[in-house]
Amino acid sequence: MLQFVLKRLLTSLVVIWIVVTTTFVLMKLCPGGPFDRERGLPEAIEKNISARYGLDKPVWRQYGSYVGSLLRGDLGLSYHYQGQSIGGMIADKFPRSATIGLLSILLSIGVGVPAGVFSSVRQHRWGDRLTMLITIVGVSVPSFILATLLQYVAAVRWKVFNAAGFAGWRDAILPALALSVYSLAFITRLTRSSFLDVLHDEWVRTAYAKGLAPLRVLVGHVLRNAILPVVTYLGPLTAGVLTGSLVVEKIFSIPGLGGFFVTSVFNRDYPLIMGVTIFYSILLVLLNLFVDVAYVWLDPRISFEGGETS
């Protein structure tokens, strides 16, 4: 087990390194310098700015010092918010996004898995059909449209929630709802299909034949075998929530990392774009690592030494 974890940890590090290098190269490919807007500055000042951000050095030295400071946990300085550290800004904005994101992940799993189980048990009956219909609508309606709709109905019309801003946990509910609908629907379908795969296995029939209560069979026996695809989906789920947050935070005017990232794209704040991309990627790579380990731990059929979890 330890060997497997170490091996996966190593590949994760390689992945992160590749992400860092790629984003660095991409940002260097961007046309125009970051301070083009301030053309007409005296040469001495321009030189000073370049020196401050290390832009006067050759690219490979810039890369070296970027990776070097990254290893010390330093993501560098923003171009737009002059002199502010990117790490500090992320630390400031991320908790709000994380609150909303966690809430929506909990919602997707907490509602999606039971709904999928329900649907699989009632296969081909109206309860199942209705659930499937709702879920295909759920995977089709984009989060930004749902967010607008929720904002209009629940905040503008009914005035139950605030339409914008983030003052307390209540303000996390609408954005979390908007973010979770796609993954909730997807998890419902996923759970249903993997339950259907297992439900008709002979050992399930045996469990019923022994006289176990239906709920006990479902939770105690089927769930452990059928939940694996849902566990694997945790990575893409988080990626989806993260992506959705870019637009949902903008709609609800939440001062989180997602909306901030979009603004930084408009400001062409390259170090900030790079920093947030790397931060998100590290988050996801670590999560995927965790998922892989959880998978191996949950599924007795996979050996610890193999390392292949596909």
Binding site: V19, L26, I136, F144, Q151, T243, F266
Partner: protein, 284 residues
């Protein structure tokens, strides 16, 4: 009955899938002739009729600068279909050649190539698209390119799996024994037999690309003014003061996006069920 007809029969027996097809066809028609149905041109601005609700003169109302929403939505349909079509074609090209190469050569080549795909899977694709958009700049062509460059992963995986499976079949062995080159074997013998999964993946890539374009346009990174797409229209209409006074501004683009996504998802699901009967009723 030939397998082709069997598949067609199963597909036609699925009302949701057929309905999806009808909607897609209507959508294509709407995109083609829609703009000429209305007496107003795409960039006609009528300052006496701004943010007006749907009426006989303006079927879908007007936007905040007095343009006819019906024409805007029709032009948006063009954009969306173009994006869906071309982005998935680019992804088809990359995905199939990548997957086929990986599967055909197998061994170490395969391992390395699939490792790359695994790595890309680990990064949120929209982040890569956004990073690409930063470099390429906004605009429809760049959106197409960025999407196509990113959305080939599923295709590569599926084609690779199929090629790996078919590589050892008797007819491929026979072709090899006759001295047919590997490119020709892939194109003439293997790929036609993996058409099913390829088509399914392609149909499911289309709504994905359409969604991402409208997403990018919504946050302002997709098509740029004066061009409009459903994403930019939805975003313009979603401002709080507009939602209160003229909800039609957000309603029409939102409905258009959702309906299109729904239709393509139904078609994709239906195709998959028709091609793989074991899969019926349990889509994931």
């Amino acid at each position: 009955m030939s397998p082709g007809r069997l598949i067609a029969r199963r597909f036609i027996g699925n009302p949701a899938a057929v309905g999806g097809c009808v909607v897609v066809a209507l959508l294509a028609l709407f995109a083609l002739v829609g703009p000429s149905l209305s007496p107003h041109a795409y960039d006609d601005q009528d300052y006496d009729h701004m943010r007006e609700s749907p009426s006989r003169q303006f079927w879908f109302g007007t936007d905040e600068v007095g343009r006819d929403m019906f024409v805007l939505i029709a032009v948006g349909a063009r954009v969306s279909l173009e994006v869906g079509l071309f982005a998935s074609l680019i992804s088809l090209l990359i995905g199939v050649s990548y997957g086929a190469t990986s599967g055909w050569f197998g061994g170490r080549t395969d391992q390395t190539m699939m490792r790359v795909v695994d790595i890309l899977y680990g990064i949120p694709l929209v982040l890569i698209v956004i990073n690409l958009m930063v470099i390429l700049g906004s605009g429809l062509q760049n959106v197409l390119l960025a999407l196509g460059l990113v959305y080939w992963l599923d295709m590569a995986r599926i084609v690779r799996g199929q090629v790996l499976r078919l590589r050892t079949t008797a007819y491929v062995e026979a072709a090899r024994a006759l001295g047919v080159g590997w490119r020709r074997i892939l194109v003439r013998h293997i790929l036609p037999n993996t058409l099913g999964p390829i088509v399914v993946t392609l149909t499911l890539t289309v709504p994905n690309a359409i969604f991402t374009e409208s997403f990018l346009s919504y946050i302002g990174l997709g098509v740029s003014a004066p061009n409009e797409s459903w994403g930019t229209l939805a975003s313009a209409g979603a401002r709080l003061e507009f939602l209160r006074s003229s909800p039609h501004l957000a309603l029409f683009p939102a409905a258009a996006i959702s309906l299109t996504m729904l239709a393509f998802n139904f078609v994709g699901d239906g195709l998959r069920d028709a091609l793989d009967p074991r899969h019926v009723g349990k889509s994931s």
